[in-house]
């Protein structure tokens, strides 16, 4: 009887357990994403899995590379992480956020440098506008790519527009999954240059494994036949370091929640071209890092990997993109901006964060600085970037110029010429230092709007006019001069190619060339140039390196750092960079005031008044002393009269 009644009970318990277990398995996706409050490091002695979810063993004869999706995804929510800033750049519905550094499509043959982004930043083109498929994107930009998104976007089976070659190449190269180890692997053996080399070979599937130092890989996917079968053939051989596996085939990975700065630097370094190469050692790093902080102290994130961008202003003062502000929940991250750390942010949820001094940040006195400066300038204006000089300098950045690649695949990329510091107005109306380059590309003009033509297409249509040598064209990585005669030649070749794009009754698109802030067009066979919105410089605000306080503009009452008739901050010259030689005495520089939106005449006069400021101080102080002494004299006389009057009574 008892047994009879226990059986269904046991069945129900098991069933309920099964349901709960299934649910928790589903919910367990992200098991490692929580935080139980312990600040102790979590030891990652884990099994490695290949892309099929099969555990990798030291004894495997034909081991496959580690899959981040399967290995890290075992405990972490890969999909949620994939929605973070670093990994959704390929999405067309990604948040725009503050204007940032774009991907730059450079091509010296066609004299093109085109800012690309899916974030709808003004002046950028989407990769799809330039016929850049995910595959082509990887080929060009995967050296400094965190994986995910474009790396996991092979063409759909029914995609009729896709290049047939891509259908064949994707399975050979594999997907470029999010490389979690690129940031979170603190092991000194982590080598992103190695990942870049694998990416250059189109060994995307192997990039993370090689970079981590777990294995070496021999073979080159880009050289394999299109009909190579990765399931049955092993021309790309993975050899694991067996000493890394323990008796249970588990591997210790030195995973850290907060990535070291050196990991960030692979994609986020900036090289000052005024003193490159052998003089590099003379440079100082960001004052925050010099004082022992790391990037992730300010640039933090939760499991969604929406890393705070250390917004240089209080988030309540972003001035644009409500969705961006919403994604950040300003009250939570209010303390993670310059203002939040150093001054406190009134919008912070935490009362302590309203006081400032976060992470021991010194609270600046800003002695002698009228508060109007805080309304007109961002913190970075005075504190960030290289100290302004009469003319802008040049920098190279990791992602644009592919810095940090070692050995034979290192490239000394020079284009685009990125100029800095350019003081320009941000969306919120404040002036901030920017990096800037001048877009250059061939395009079509219709209804006042310019659409870019893919550089490869231009080269295909007008190789002779461009003067392309057939040998080693891509090895020339700096501007090749372009004459107006050549421009005329190319435009002539392009005329007629885009007629079909015109809607009925609309004017035909007119081929144009954009460079150095000018739009070149053919007018009755003569090349004329004019200003155009599409030719405006592309610029993005910078916040690093932050200089020491003593090296800030205006520190210790040095008003003349900015309020001087020769101050680079206001009257500095911004280089206009173009492959086209300037004609008719046109300037090769532009004044900083143009970008700042300031009245040159007014600021010249204002700076001039500073010559008389010492006199003003002396005159007013002496007058006040005089007034004070007279007042004191008569006050004493009055007191004398009062005392005498009181004495009489």
């Amino acid at each position: 009887m008892k047994i009879r009644s226990i059986r269904p009970l046991c069945f129900l318990v098991l069933l309920a357990g099964g349901v709960v277990s299934a649910n928790s398995a589903e919910k367990g996706k992200g098991l490692g994403d929580g935080h139980d409050g312990s600040l102790a490091a979590i030891t990652h002695l884990i099994s490695l899995y290949d892309e099929k979810g099969i555990a990798i063993k030291a004894t495997d004869k034909q081991p496959r590379p580690v899959s981040m999706l399967k290995t890290c995804g075992e405990c972490h929510n890969y999909d949620e992480i994939a929605a973070g800033w670093h990994f959704h750049s390929g999405s067309t519905n990604s948040l725009a956020g503050r204007v940032g550094e774009p991907w730059v499509l450079t091509d010296s043959g066609s004299r093109s440098q085109i800012p690309m982004s899916n974030r709808a930043w003004k002046g950028t083109y989407s990769p799809s506008d330039l016929a850049i498929s995910p595959w082509k994107f990887l080929k060009r930009f995967s050296s400094h790519y965190p994986g995910g998104n474009y790396g996991e976007m092979p063409p759909a089976d029914d995609d009729e527009d896709a290049d047939p070659e891509e259908f064949l190449r994707w399975p050979i190269s594999g997907q470029y999954e999010i490389n979690c180890l690129a940031c979170h692997h603190a092991d000194s053996r982590q080598d992103q240059s190695g990942a870049a080399l694998q990416a250059a070979r189109q060994n995307y599937r192997w990039a993370a494994t090689v970079a981590s130092g777990l294995a070496t890989v021999k073979g080159n996917a880009s050289e394999l036949d299109e009909f190579y079968d990765p399931e049955t053939e092993y021309k790309i051989r993975t050899t694991y370091d067996k000493s890394r596996f323990d008796a249970n085939n588990k591997v210790f990975l030195d995973i850290v929640r907060k990535p070291p700065a050196s990991r960030c630097y692979f994609c986020h370094s900036t090289q000052d071209m005024d003193t490159p190469g052998k003089s590099e050692w003379t440079h100082n790093e960001d004052i925050h890092l010099a004082s022992g902080m790391t990037c992730a102290d300010c640039h933090r994130n939760g499991v969604d990997h929406m890393i705070t961008r250390g917004d240089i202003e209080s988030l309540s003062d972003l001035g644009s993109d409500a969705a961006y502000a919403k994604a950040y929940e300003p009250t939570n991250v209010a303390a993670l901006s310059c203002q939040g750390c150093h001054l406190g942010d009134a919008a912070a949820a935490d009362p302590a964060a309203r006081l400032g001094g976060h992470l021991g940040a010194p609270i600046p006195a800003h002695k002698g600085l009228p508060p109007i400066h805080f309304e007109k300038l961002s913190c970075t204006s005075c504190h960030s970037g290289s100290f302004p000089k009469d003319k802008t300098g040049r920098v190279r950045t990791s992602r644009i110029h592919k810095l940090g690649l070692h050995g034979r695949h290192a490239i000394n990329k020079k284009l685009p010429h990125v100029l800095t510091p350019v003081f320009a107005r941000m969306d919120n109306g404040k002036i901030a230092p920017h990096n800037l380059f001048w877009p250059a590309y061939w395009g079509t003009l219709a209804k006042g709007k310019v659409s870019a033509i893919p550089p490869d297409l231009v080269k295909e249509l007008a190789p002779d006019a461009l003067g392309l040598e057939q040998k080693n064209v891509e090895r020339v990585n700096d501007w090749k001069p372009l004459s107006e005669k050549q421009i005329a030649g190319v435009l002539k070749q392009l005329v007629g190619e885009f007629d079909g794009e015109a809607e009925e009754g609309q004017p035909k698109p007119e081929p144009v060339y954009i460079a150095g802030g000018r739009l070149y067009r053919s007018s009755n066979g003569v090349i004329v140039s004019e200003d155009h919105e599409a030719a405006e410089a592309y610029k993005w605000p910078i916040a690093h390196n932050v200089r020491p306080a003593a090296q800030s503009l205006g520190a210790n009452g040095r008003c003349a750092d900015c309020h001087d008739t020769n101050s680079p901050f206001i009257f500095g010259q911004v280089e206009v960079d173009s492959p086209v030689a300037p004609q008719g005495g046109r300037d090769t520089t532009r004044e900083m005031v143009e970008f700042e939106g300031l009245d040159r005449g007014y600021y010249q006069m204002f700076a001039f008044t500073f010559l008389f400021r010492p006199w003003l101080k002396v005159v007013v102080i002496l007058s006040c002393v005089l007034l004070g002494m007279v007042l004191l004299l008569y006050a004493l006389k009055g007191l004398d009269a009062v005392i005498k009057a009181a004495g009489k009574k």
């Binding site: 600046p364 002698g368 508060p371 007014y602 007013v620």
Partner: protein, 202 residues
């Protein structure tokens, strides 16, 4: 807050002046006294200079007031641009003129026995004697204006030195605004009393 206080205080003072003209008893001069303004009397070089300094001070105060308050009170914007330059440029002229005036005119503005009696009477809340001197008001406002000119000027000059931080700068700006407002109000009353006295004596 500051614009509201400014509008209210300016309105009150203007209304007060008008009411004073209309309803207050006409004071008379003490025996033997003659009505003199700073520009009256002998025309020596010093007198001409005094007169010039007085007019310059009044003119510059007017421009300083308009440039400093107009944008703030009418459009809610702080002083900036060319207006700011004009404001800062005229400030030393005003202060220097005040220094000159206080040295050359201060003796005449001293409170005499009659003024002291009237003040004592006012302090005791007695009904003013109509035979009393009419000089107390303009003399007091003169000294009050001189006194207020010191914080109004010093607050801005000190902010040009790397002494005060952001909070200090804001306090100095606040001090400048309110002391300037008070200076303007006192100057208005002073001018009203001087004009009224002149009108009575002529």
């Amino acid at each position: 807050m500051f614009p509201t206080i400014s509008w209210v205080s300016l309105s009150l003072v203007l209304v007060g002046i008008v009411v004073h003209w209309l309803v207050s008893p006409r004071p008379r001069l003490a025996k033997g006294e003659t009505a003199k303004s700073i520009c009256d009397g002998e025309r020596s070089a010093l007198a001409k200079l005094k007169c010039l300094a007085c007019r310059l001070a009044l003119g510059s105060l007017l421009v300083l007031f308009v440039s400093g308050f107009a944008e703030r009170l009418l459009f809610g914007e702080p002083i900036h641009g060319y207006t700011l330059m004009l404001h800062v440029g005229l400030a030393p002229v005003f202060v220097v003129c005040l220094g000159f005036i206080v040295i050359t005119w201060g003796q005449q503005c001293l409170l005499n026995e009659n003024d002291r009696k009237r003040m004592a009477s006012l302090l005791r809340l007695n009904k003013p004697d109509t035979t009393d001197t009419p000089d107390l008001g303009w003399k007091l406002t003169f000294w009050l204006a001189i006194f207020l000119a010191v914080p109004a000027s010093l607050s801005m000059v000190l902010s040009m030195f790397p002494i005060f931080g952001t909070h200090g700068q804001e306090t100095l700006l606040c001090l400048h605004q309110y002391s300037s407002l008070a200076l303007t109000l006192v100057a208005m009353i002073h001018i009203h009393l001087v004009i009224r006295r002149k009108a009575l004596c002529s």
